[in-house]
Symmetry: C2
DNA sequence: CGTTAAAGTCGTCAATTGACGACATAGAAA
DNA sequence: TTTCTATGTCGTCAATTGACGACTTTAACG
């Protein structure tokens, strides 16, 4: 009888390494390439198995001995941290900020285009799972960077929306951010529903994005006016 | 030098068991009570440490020997499943559906009251962490029950909102659900931000809920009309 | 062909971890 | 007080798991 872990490790190997040659890794590689290949495999592996996934299974998925991992990363933590840096922090496009402020297009068009792209590029199954696993493990790995980027995004969204509608924003930036989260949070949660909760999704993605954007742009004025009325 | 795990286990004991007597559990208990106490402690424990948290540390948190856990639950999986059933599935109030349909109050009042309560009762740190850990681990433990409840909730929300505004809902139920998620998802994501991402929150909770509800009620008509226009 | 540094593997260690048999003890009933 | 059963603990086993020293293999270079 095989040990349980051996079976699992073979599954891991088949699941990823079974493309080149007979089945093993892919011959001998120069240091940088092997490192890149390990990181790529590791990002998928940790996304699926959590940050507590075992090094032996990861090694099998890479088609490589477990010992080799430690030739590149001194500890498992270092490997995980590197995956996080590459996959999580590297998933934002600078161009988004430019396109979002291109007033030749309507805000609705810009927001829709942005969120369709954002869903495809960043709010993927892999990104979300890694981000959630990292957020749940107390060791909050550098969330400041993401916080900073998202905050910028929220402010751009609100500035552009307010300009289009022709209304002034409240002075309290925290309130402005919270208003933008009305849109950004709803779409983020849509992605979580699809990728993490495995909800069935019949309605096409583009249509969903359009719904959210239109709802936001139609309701924003009323929301701001209500806020101003209560804080005058 | 102490082993690393011993230090951690003592922390676990202090963190929860340090209320009665000198420090140990709480004397000998009848079977049902001990079982309940273990489940209560376990829900906090797994919420904080993930479903992979170790039985020895949990036992210390309970102020009880590790062996005793296996007198109540044949395997760790059974224990986790029981925690999930109690904490996740038991967090919904039937009264919500009644109150949400009480048309003596405005929809805005009802929705606001409901979501303030929902945030306090269900979307807690503990509930969210357990739910996310369970959702991430492939073993999707009976998500059907939750799906069913939330779907009912979405339909009530849309029915009441449409009645208040005086507008007909689209026939496609999937689309109607997706529209309701605009509100429900945004508030769920607000809870995730606060409890999981540890975002700073300056704006008081009630105000946030009011913002979301008002945004939803103000934008709903436009969203439905846009949908009808595109699908005629 | 021979040398040699880098790439890669084998085997193992110590700590961890789920599970459980054997034993101890409190407290209610006789 | 004695008995007896449910409550509870001790110690241990086998599998797992991060880490690493010692060793082998490949291929670029002279």
């Amino acid at each position: 009888m095989k040990a349980k872990s051996d079976v699992l490790r073979e599954q891991a190997r088949k699941a990823s390494g079974a493309k080149k040659e007979g089945g093993s890794g892919s011959g001998r590689l120069p240091r940088a390439e092997r490192r890149a290949q390990i990181l790529e495999t590791a990002s998928d592996f940790f996304a699926e198995n959590g940050l507590t996934g075992q090094t032996r299974m990861l090694a099998d998925a890479c088609g490589v001995s477990q010992r080799l991992l430690y030739r590149f990363f001194p500890t498992k933590q270092d490997l995980v941290a590197e995956v996080y840096k590459e996959e999580i922090l590297g998933a934002f496009k600078a161009g988004w900020f430019v396109d979002l402020q291109n007033r030749k297009l309507s805000a609705e068009e810009r927001f829709t285009q942005f969120y369709v792209d954002y869903l495809e590029t960043t709010l993927t199954r892999k990104w979300l799972r890694l981000f959630l696993y990292a957020s749940l493990s107390d060791a909050s790995m550098a969330p400041d960077y993401i916080t900073s980027i998202v905050t910028q995004l929220l402010e751009v969204l609100m500035r552009e929306a307010a300009h289009e509608i022709g209304i002034d924003l409240p002075d309290d930036r925290e309130v402005v951010h919270e208003m933008a989260w009305t849109l950004h949070g709803a779409i983020s949660h849509y992605a979580i529903r699809r990728h993490i909760y495995k909800a069935s999704w019949q309605v096409p993605e583009t249509q969903v994005v359009k719904m959210h954007v239109r709802m936001f742009l139609s309701g924003l004025a009323a929301m701001i006016e209500a806020y101003n009325a209560e804080n005058s």
